[in-house]
């Protein structure tokens, strides 16, 4: 029994890790800057393709762990740079949320088109990091070590972010200018809002790029994967609560495990189950399981 439960948890790990990163990427911008920005899904796509392309070009079959970490870091940097650029050149001119939603989703369409022009729509894959890490056996369940590695990276990053937000000077400034802070007062207290916004977008870019990079060896980089990433992230933000790190982790586990259980026990519901959970959450706890009430 316990082993079966554990199996569901282990099965859900890859989804859990990438949803943690992606949903926090989305909710971080929403929370700190009060902006709906869907560009993160495009960054996810870029991260995935960058990892696969760099992996194939630089390493081929001679996989080295350090090299892979280096490629992931590059994907993160690329993601951060692109999201910041998107904000500077484009998103900051948008006035209302519905326009941000429409305009950034149009950018997603454009980024998908770009991917098609550059890589074509045949999926590409670079699975050496995933396959070379081997498997371990936990209570009779086989789990690829890469899944544990992914989860560790995601959780460590979340812990680091949590430390940054709650324990450091700059984190305090972020929280002061967040949605339940008061932006003008934060500025009147000497917080440079522009720097905070840019840093927020950069961090969100790192998270989204990393999510794509980490998931690419498992599922390949595929044209159109941004839509799915977008939905799962948005739903997890609803379930977990905007701006909450604990909520992002909790929601990712809920979504991941629910899907893993549904896949075996009730395949009919596998795709619908995150939506059902989100709907129920919205009805019972409108601000998410771990979220704070804030007017939006």
């Amino acid at each position: 029994m316990l082993s079966t439960c554990l199996r569901y948890v282990l099965n859900s790990l890859p989804v859990v890790s990438y949803v943690i990163l992606l949903s926090f990427s989305y909710s971080f911008i929403l929370y700190i800057c009060g902006r709906v920005s869907l560009t993160f899904a495009g960054i996810y796509l870029v991260g995935a393709y960058a990892t696969v392309s760099l992996g194939m070009a630089l390493m081929g079959n001679n996989m080295s762990f350090a090299g892979f970490i280096g490629i992931l870091l590059l994907a993160c940097l690329l993601g951060a740079a692109m999201l910041v650029a998107s904000y500077l050149c484009f998103e900051r001119f948008l006035k209302t949320d519905v326009h941000r939603m429409v305009a950034t989703s149009s950018l997603l369409v454009a980024s998908r088109g770009l991917v098609k022009v550059i890589w074509g729509t045949t999926p590409v894959t670079y699975s050496a990091p995933f396959l070379s890490m081997g498997v371990s056996e936990i209570a009779g369940n086989i789990v690829p070590n890469y899944y544990l590695f992914m989860l560790a990276v995601a959780l460590l990053l979340m812990l680091a972010l949590s430390y940054f937000l709650n324990r450091t000077c700059w984190g305090m400034r972020f929280r002061a200018s967040s949605l339940d802070g008061e932006r003008t007062m934060a500025q009147a207290c000497g917080v440079n809002q522009n720097v905070v916004t840019l840093m927020t977008f950069a961090i969100a870019g790192v998270l989204a790029g990393l999510a794509g990079g980490l998931y690419a060896p498992i599922a390949g980089a595929a044209y159109g994967s941004e839509g799915n990433a977008l939905l799962l992230a948005a739903l997890s933000v609803i379930i977990g609560g905007v701006g909450s790190i604990g909520g992002a982790v909790l929601a990712a586990f809920i979504v991941g495990i629910a899907r893993a259980v549904a896949a075996i026990k009730m395949p009919v519901l596998e795709l619908a189950v995150p939506f059902i959970i989100a709907s129920i959450t919205l009805m019972l706890r409108p601000f998410g399981l771990w979220g704070k009430e804030f007017r939006y």
Binding site: R175, S178, G181, T184
Partner: protein, 239 residues
């Protein structure tokens, strides 16, 4: 010393502050007037929250008009808004820390807040949204003074506070004045202003109409206020 010269502020076509000049130097000056007379706007303009149309704001002879909002504290302007505006999810200590860090980063010396607001020490680790109105006002003041700014702007300092709290806060203001700060306040009630202000400036439709000690203004203005029609509008084009 804070000097305001020919300041004009408008919201779209609506002119809120018209050609106002005043100086504050080591004293507590209180702007009074009816609702909508432009006193809050004047403070916000000095704090940098609203942009100005024309005029100069001189802090010890240096024009601060072009400084962005987040540089004003560093330049020496502390602002306490009307409705407190605390960072509600953060503790009191963190609320004050934000400004303290800003001050340190700017190389300003940090003021000992407890000296002026000894009450504050009791709820340092509580979340600020759980405090009472008076306590929140204290935090808001602490946040403004921790960076030891030369000029302090208090908007509706005593609004909605119990009598005991009023006195505590007035003591704090007087303590600040003793430190040599320039204090500019806005208060809708002359009675409250007379609790702490050295000088009162009466604003009407964005213009200064009278200036003097609280008692002088009281006697001067009472008759005028009573006669004033309730819905007098600003004539178009008057500036």
């Amino acid at each position: 010393m804070l000097a305001i010269e020919n300041l004009t502020v408008s919201y779209g076509t609506e002119i809120a502050v018209k050609n106002v000049s005043l100086t504050v130097s080591g004293e507590v000056v209180c702007l009074c007037g009816r609702n909508g007379s432009g006193k809050s706007t004047l403070l916000k303009a000095v704090a940098g929250i609203v942009g100005i149309d024309s005029g100069r704001i001189l802090l010890d002879g240096r024009d601060v008009v072009d400084l962005p909002l987040h540089r004003r504290l560093e330049a020496g302007i502390g602002y306490v808004p009307e409705d407190r505006k605390l960072f509600s999810e953060m503790t009191v200590r963190e609320n004050v820390e934000v400004a303290r860090i800003g001050a340190k980063a700017a190389g300003r010396e940090v003021m000992d807040v407890d000296q002026f607001l000894p009450e504050l020490a009791r709820f340092y680790d509580r979340k600020s949204k759980l405090l009472s109105g008076g306590q929140q006002k204290m935090v808001s003041i602490a946040r403004a003074i921790v960076a030891s700014p030369q000029v302090l702007l208090f908007d509706e300092l005593l609004e909605g506070l119990a009598q005991a709290m009023c006195y505590k806060i007035c003591d704090a203001v007087k303590g600040l004045k003793a430190e040599g700060k320039d204090i500019l306040c806005a208060e809708s009630s002359l009675d409250k202003a007379s609790l702490y202000a050295d000088r009162v400036i009466w604003l009407e439709q964005g213009k200064i109409v009278a200036m003097g000690t609280p008692d002088e203004i009281k006697s001067q203005m009472m008759e005028h206020i009573r006669k004033m029609p309730a819905d007098r509008k600003l004539p178009q084009g008057e500036a």
